[in-house]
């Protein structure tokens, strides 16, 4: 449980950080909160020659509201999103998802962008990012680009981020006032990665659903959207919606992975239940005015 040797660099500017990543792209890891990376190092599942610690880089710890988005910088800890009264209030799913991550000691260090780039299929921020069509801002020495969340996650622990790129921020779109949100997940122990989970966003106007997003966690190698179920819900009168049927529809076509925690079949059944719960709660919170 001791990390292999590595060299350590602690740049103080974004430019310096991405220069280091560019120079050592073949064998480098970025250290932000370290709540996923340090266990990987301790277990020697990762043995980079160089660790670039970005904690001293100025300007990466902001939560800002701009152009209909909440922009969360690379050093924003999970715990910052569990407290009300920040710019993050414009995206209620952030405060709903943050308390579900690990334990408070983990939330004090772990970062939103670190969780996105680590890309565990059962992690909360990838789920929220996919549900809200967030954009991940990547920067390298060669320039900057934004990647939509649905294109960012490519497989388990695999993303569109290249080794020379730093995820400097993520932009979560804000929905109009009155939209309802919920996250539900099922884990066998508090703080564990969930067996399955779901996030829902619902907008209701004139008694009908006008917009809906359903994200699924732990039911595939990457977080998914229930596109067909969403399309069937939009336009439907609220009274005609059956959350249990929506849960079944959202998960019917999936073939979730089997592992020591749960069989794929069980995961799908749990998935249907958490979608139903999340949808019912989000719909209850939606304000039709």
């Amino acid at each position: 449980m001791k990390a292999a040797e590595f060299r350590y660099a602690a740049p103080t500017t974004e430019a310096e950080a991405v220069a280091l990543l560019g120079e050592h792209a073949d064998d480098v890891s970025v250290l932000a909160g370290g709540q996923s990376l340090v266990p990987l190092l301790a277990l020697r599942l990762a043995t980079p020659a160089l660790v670039v610690d970005i904690n001293r880089v100025a300007g990466l710890d902001g939560i800002e509201r701009a152009n209909g988005h909440v922009r969360v910088g690379a050093l924003v800890r999970h715990s910052a999103l569990t407290r009300a009264g920040s710019a993050a209030d414009a995206v209620p799913l952030l405060a709903l998802a943050a308390p579900l991550i690990g334990h408070f000691q983990i939330r004090n260090r772990g970062t939103v962008c670190g969780s996105l780039t680590h890309a565990d299929a059962a992690a909360e921020w990838p789920l929220v990012a996919v549900t809200l069509d967030a954009e991940i801002e990547l920067r390298s020495a060669a320039g900057a680009r934004s990647v939509p969340a649905r294109d960012f996650f490519e497989g388990p622990f695999t993303t569109a981020r290249q080794p020379d790129e730093l995820a400097v921020a993520v932009r979560f779109p804000a929905w109009p006032d009155g939209a309802g949100f919920a996250v539900e997940e099922f884990a066998r122990r508090s703080g564990d990665f969930a067996i399955a989970g779901a996030a829902c966003a619902v907008e209701v106007r004139g008694g009908r659903v006008t917009r809906c997003a359903i994200g699924l966690l732990g039911l595939a190698s990457i977080p998914l959207r229930a596109d067909a179920a969403e399309a069937a819900i939009v336009g439907t009168a609220v009274g005609d919606l059956d959350p249990e049927a929506i849960g079944r529809a959202a998960t019917a076509e999936l073939e979730p992975p089997t592992d020591i925690h749960a069989s794929g079949r069980y995961r799908r059944r749990v998935g249907a239940v958490v979608v139903a719960r999340a949808f019912r709660t989000a719909l209850g919170r939606a304000n039709d005015d």
């Binding site: 449980m1 350590y8 983990i106």
Partner: protein
């Protein structure tokens, strides 16, 4: 790799600490092996068990998931720093003793540090707050009933207010 050791200066329990460590040395190992502060215990060494919990700039964190080199300028408090200098017990420790909140005692420093941080942030926790707050520390002896009772007693005595 040749000697790639790095100097780092931070504060531990109010005292300055100047170390030269390999980058891979965790804060937990630095506390125990360089500074002889062996009250911080290491169970799993990958962030699951909570035995190594310390305060960094007032926030409870896993000291096995931080490298000592990251601590430049930080203010670290360990279980030793939470106990009165005369060897008596602080109110959280006393609650653990009163309520049989420990058996072998291995996990206890982590519980005491976590509970201290929890009560500092939330001086009037609900039962659910306490249970959620204790969920990040594992005990393999007590069945947790004594620990939860100790947490209730500590919260009732107004620790952290």
């Amino acid at each position: 790799m040749t000697d790639a050791r790095v100097p780092v200066t931070f504060t531990v329990n109010g005292e300055p600490a100047r170390l030269t460590v390999e980058p891979r040395t965790t804060l937990a190992d630095a506390l125990r092996e360089e500074l002889d502060l062996t009250g911080t215990h290491l169970g799993c060494e990958h962030g699951v068990c909570g035995a190594c919990t310390v305060l960094v700039d007032g926030a409870a964190v896993r000291s096995c998931l931080l490298f000592a080199v990251q601590l430049e300028g930080a203010d670290v408090t360990t279980i030793e720093g939470l106990s009165p200098a005369d060897g008596s017990l602080n109110p959280v420790q006393e609650a653990f003793r009163n309520c049989h909140g420990l058996q072998c005692g291995f996990c206890t420093p982590g519980f005491v540090v976590s509970l201290t941080a929890l009560l500092a942030e939330n001086p009037a926790p609900t039962d659910d707050d306490l249970r959620q707050g204790l969920a990040g520390n594992l005990c393999r002896c007590t069945g947790y009933q004594g620990i939860v009772a100790a947490a209730r007693q500590a919260a009732g005595t107004g620790v952290g207010q």
